[in-house]
């Protein structure tokens, strides 16, 4: 703990200059004495394009699964060494992980990873755009919501003058644009790369800061203020080169880079409470699976995905006790394969919940079955868990924000006992 505080005092404070130190930082330094004071962090991962949950968490105990997918199923778990690499990795005798997700198996065994199956948005839309919008706003079926659930989930500022007491990077979206999930009244920033997040000329930076502060356009003004506060803060960690801990090997991919930088921000104690990253290209209408289950588009994408998540877990080490990662995708895919060895837009999906305080090692949710009469509209996995049940529990019991009415208006989440 001590090293972290010393680091903060020496770098963060020194960089912004003691006189100009924002109130939140001085306060944080004065009070951060132990792990109890550390902020809880919620990380949301969005799989854009509708990931095929049935080939990610494989219901290998379900006969209908193999009937519906004659050419693109993941084979049943096997002890035959030659075929293991192309078979599901058994979790509980009924469900198994896609073979590309082998790096996540130890997390499941150590009960740091929970899976919620047949989960998702109850809205019937099969439009990527609308479904992502609904899931990010946290209000399925309602388009007029202008903020995201993650922004509304940020704990309210303590007191009327609290603005200056909160970290400018408490809500971070990795990438060139601010994710819909994090849009809203509370300040939230988009960071493409920590290293590049600075105005290269100090004198110009000062002039820009003044110009944006004086802009009559309230949105430009606010964005400018948030940006410059974050720039000053991140200067402190730009100087350090970052080496992941625990032998973590992040894949060299955009998603790997995003998770590595989220880990860096969390471990630097700059006040991150909510972080968001996405990974695209899940819309596999054609040739989803290659000649073998461990090959092809889905297998390659899952390899990147699983390696990045497991590296994040290794990198954070004990710090994982403060962190929960939740994954989601806008909807699932058809239970049956289509005419092109792919799948079309479906309904329910699976979600991963990962963290030190997670009651993992378990597949949560009621399994609806895949027989014709059990399918949603006769074609898709039916939904038994609303995604807001999962996220609501994490917001309330992990980040400790009990005001769920404001986060998921018009819905009362039913907790599954994940944390």
């Amino acid at each position: 703990m001590n090293t972290r505080r010393v680091f903060l005092r020496n770098s963060a404070l020194a960089m912004v200059g003691a006189g100009a130190a924002p109130l939140w930082l001085t306060r944080a330094l004065a009070s951060s004495d132990g792990p109890a004071q550390r902020k809880k962090v919620l990380v949301a991962i969005f799989q854009r394009g509708a990931a095929d949950g049935l080939n990610i968490v494989v219901p290998h105990g379900e006969k209908a699964y193999y009937e519906l997918r004659p050419t693109i199923h993941i084979p049943r778990p096997t002890s035959n060494g030659d075929r293991q690499a192309d078979a599901a990795i058994d979790l509980d005798g009924f469900f198994g992980l896609h073979p590309s997700l082998a790096p996540l198996k130890p997390l499941f065994e150590r009960k740091h990873l929970a899976i919620v199956d047949a989960a998702g948005s109850p809205d019937p839309t099969r439009s990527h755009f609308d479904a992502q919008d609904y899931m990010e706003s946290g209000t399925p079926g309602r388009k007029a919501t202008d903020s995201g659930w993650m922004n509304r989930a940020l704990p309210a500022a303590p007191g009327p003058h609290a603005q200056g007491q909160l970290s400018p990077v408490r809500a971070v979206s990795l990438g060139p644009t601010l994710a819909r999930t994090l849009c809203g009244a509370a300040p939230a920033i988009a960071v493409q790369s920590i290293a590049g997040f600075q105005v290269r000329n100090a004198q110009a930076a000062e002039q820009f800061e003044r110009m944006y502060a004086a802009s009559p356009d309230p949105v430009l003004q606010a964005t400018g203020r948030e940006t410059f506060e974050a720039v000053k803060l991140l200067q402190s960690i730009q100087r350090q080169s970052y080496t992941p801990a625990g032998g973590a090997q992040y894949p060299r991919s955009p998603f790997g880079d995003k998770l590595r930088q989220i880990a860096q921000l969390i471990k630097s104690d700059v006040g991150v409470e909510m972080a968001f990253a996405d990974i695209g290209q899940w819309d596999h209408h054609v040739n989803e699976v290659g000649a073998r289950a461990s090959e092809g588009q889905l297998a390659n994408l899952l390899r990147d995905y699983g390696q990045a998540l497991s590296a994040f877990w290794a990198d954070l080490g004990d710090r994982m006790s403060d962190v929960v990662v939740a994954t989601m995708s806008e909807f699932g895919r058809t239970a049956h394969e289509n005419g092109d060895r792919g799948t079309d837009h479906g309904h329910a999906n699976c979600m991963f919940v990962m963290g030190g305080g997670v009651k993992g090692g378990n597949v949560y949710g009621k399994w609806p079955g895949l027989e014709k009469e059990q399918l949603h509209e006769g074609r898709d996995l039916a939904l038994t868990t609303d995604f807001r049940d999962v996220l609501g529990e994490l917001v309330a019991r992990h980040t400790g924000n009990p005001m769920l009415k404001g986060v998921f208006p018009g819905y009362e989440p039913k907790f599954l006992g994940l944390v």
């Binding site: 854009r48 394009g49 050419t71 839309t125 099969r126 439009s127 990527h128 755009f129 609308d130 979206s173 990438g175 060139p176 644009t177 601010l178 920033i189 988009a190 960071v191 493409q192 590049g196 997040f197 600075q198 105005v199 290269r200 000329n201 004198q203 110009a204 930076a205 002039q207 820009f208 110009m211 944006y212 802009s215 356009d217 949105v219 430009l220 003004q221 964005t223 400018g224 948030e226 940006t227 974050a230 720039v231 695209g280 290209q281 209408h285 054609v286 289509n338 005419g339 092109d340 060895r341 792919g342 079309d344 837009h345 509209e377």
Partner: protein, 570 residues
């Protein structure tokens, strides 16, 4: 007493003004002063004003300028642009020609094995045969090393003086080394040069030499490079500015993703032959052109969508490839291209539309193929689309009937009009304006030029609600900055990268939605930092490939106006 009344009155007036300026609906009724109208036209209908543009429009007369911009065929193109596009011959090739002239490693292998002919142009043929030779050398690499050293090493190709000039010489000296080489030897030297040397030479090289350097780095990449660079060059230099804005609008509306397999070679002709000639024409024509374009058929998978009673394919492999219906195009046609997600269709309509388009496919997509209708793959049964019965026994006309139905649907008139108004007028355009544009759309059978005319004749377009209220997209920001400083773009790849950095990789939006037309979506901290840095670099003449006159003593701060909050809007 009187004082109190006066204060109350003053307060009421202030409040009134406050309420008025803040009530968005009323802001669209208040016209901007006359002198701002030229500015508004240049802001919204071009990629930003250059120095002197406002005066030129004033001299021509705004009304005439608008009319001419709506008829780009009446405008002579800028010879500077044409000169810059001249070496980019991929822009003028068909998909099939591109596959052969800018082959991927797989196609090079086909040519090696004699399964595909080499390009007819002798010079191009030589370049590709060089790639083949390279490929073969790679195969034979395991042999013992040549005791005399690699004959292909730079030190064996050049004199020590030449080598030194190439490594440490001034740009002109580096190019001179090349000019002095016999033509046959140039490509050997390029091949032997390490990447940093190539890059250093590139900046100084004349266009023809640059082309050879690009080809040596991989011919398949040149297609994307030409496409993205030409987009920036046109935005910066074209005299037909509204035409370029409209090409960008419609390409984005009918988005396809350049890096999806065969689309690498299909997007060039898609933009040039499918989109560009129709941007001011009838919506129905544009829609059909996209529906029949190999680029769209490939991107949304329709080329592989097959009816249930389709004749079995000949081989088992082909049979596995083609077995059933794919809804992807059917859904996006309704949701994104025509009716809009709330336009009143059901899942059943999506499936029925997909059935109608079975058999709309591509002949040899991996070789830059053509649209073809294959009756054997078509679902000939009866369909009902949006309440309209499409009788059984139809062929290609089933899909064409669907296009008739959706192109003329009132939801489409509204959806397209709103999207245009969002692009040109305001992020949240006033509904009465959208309704008037939609009426024109319906009355003129979807005449896009007429819809734009209605918009340009509206009070809303020339109102306070519209004037300087939209945040620029990354492309608009980058192009307008180069235009504002009269930058001379020698090569545009660094500007292409800049637009990518700002979150809008050109021709590379994966999702069929295209990029948002709402300016606010582009406003965030990562983007702001990147915009400020780009502004500083550009004005200090530090963006490679772009020459900017620096007359201020303090060049490092010359970019402040381009990074200012005001410049982010248009």
């Amino acid at each position: 007493m009187r004082n109190t009344a006066l204060i109350a009155l003053a307060a009421a007036v202030c409040l009134g003004i406050y309420a008025d300026t803040n009530d968005p609906a009323r802001r669209f009724t208040r016209e901007i002063p006359k002198r701002q109208r030229v500015q508004q036209a240049l802001n919204r209908l071009t990629f930003g004003p250059r120095p002197g543009d406002a005066e030129a429009v004033g001299a021509m007369g705004l009304k005439k300028w608008l009319d001419v911009q709506l008829h780009p065929e009446r405008i002579a193109e800028n010879p500077v642009l044409e000169a810059k596009l001249k070496t980019m011959d991929s822009l003028r090739m068909s998909g099939e020609q591109l596959v052969r002239n800018y082959p991927s490693p797989e196609v090079v292998r086909l040519m090696m094995n004699g399964q595909m002919p080499y390009p007819s142009d002798p010079d191009r043929r030589m370049m590709i045969q060089r790639l083949v030779a390279q490929e073969e050398r790679k195969k034979g690499q395991d042999g013992p090393p040549n005791p005399l050293g690699d004959p292909r090493a730079l030190s064996n190709l050049l004199t020590p003086q030449q080598l030194q000039a190439l490594r440490t010489g001034a740009p002109r000296e580096r190019v001179a080394v090349f000019d002095a080489l016999p033509a046959g030897k140039r490509d050997d030297v390029i091949e032997a040069m390490p990447a940093p040397l190539r890059q250093a030479l590139f900046a100084a090289a004349p266009p023809e030499l640059r082309r050879r350097l690009e080809m040596a780095a991989g011919p398949a990449q040149v297609v994307a490079r030409d496409l993205t660079e030409s987009k920036i060059l046109r935005a910066v230099y074209s005299n037909r500015q509204l035409d370029e804005v409209m090409v960008d609008f419609w390409f984005n509306h009918f988005n396809v993703y350049l890096d999806k397999g065969a689309d690498r070679y299909l997007v060039t002709e898609y933009e040039r032959d499918t989109i560009r000639p129709r941007v001011f024409g009838k919506f129905r024509d544009l829609l059909e052109a996209t529906a029949k374009s190999p680029a769209m058929l490939f991107y949304l998978d329709n080329w592989q969508s097959v009816g249930p009673n389709a004749a079995p394919a000949r081989s088992a492999a082909a049979q596995r490839q083609r077995r059933g219906l794919n809804e992807n195009y059917g859904r996006e046609l309704l949701e994104l291209h025509t009716l809009g997600v709330d336009g009143g269709y059901t899942q059943k309509d999506v499936t029925e539309v997909a059935r109608c388009f079975t058999g709309w496919t591509i002949d040899q997509p991996q070789r830059g193929g053509r649209f073809t209708f294959n009756p054997k793959l078509h679902d000939g049964g009866e369909k009902v689309v949006l309440g309209v019965r499409i009788p059984s026994g139809g062929g290609i006309q089933d899909g064409e009937m669907v296009l008739d139905i959706v192109a003329r649907h009132p939801s489409t008139a509204h959806f397209i009009s709103r999207k245009l108004a969002m692009r040109f007028v305001a992020d949240d355009p006033p509904e009465p304006l959208v309704a008037r544009m939609a009426r024109t759309f319906s009355k003129t059978d979807g005449d896009i030029r007429a819809v734009l005319q209605t918009m340009l004749d509206s009070r809303e377009f020339w109102s306070e609600g519209a004037y300087r209220t939209k945040v620029k997209s990354p492309l608009e920001m980058v192009a307008s900055a180069v235009r504002a400083v009269n930058g001379d773009v020698d090569f545009a790849a660094p500007l292409v990268n800049q637009v990518t950095q700002l979150g809008q990789p050109l021709y590379r939006k994966v999702e069929p939605t295209g990029y948002s037309n709402s300016g606010r979506e582009w406003l965030n901290s990562a983007g702001l930092v990147a915009r400020m840095n780009f502004a500083l670099q550009l004005a200090a003449n530090q963006v490679p490939g772009v020459k900017v006159a620096v007359d201020k003593p303090d060049a490092a701060l010359a970019g402040i106006p381009l990074g200012s909050p005001e410049f982010q809007k248009h």
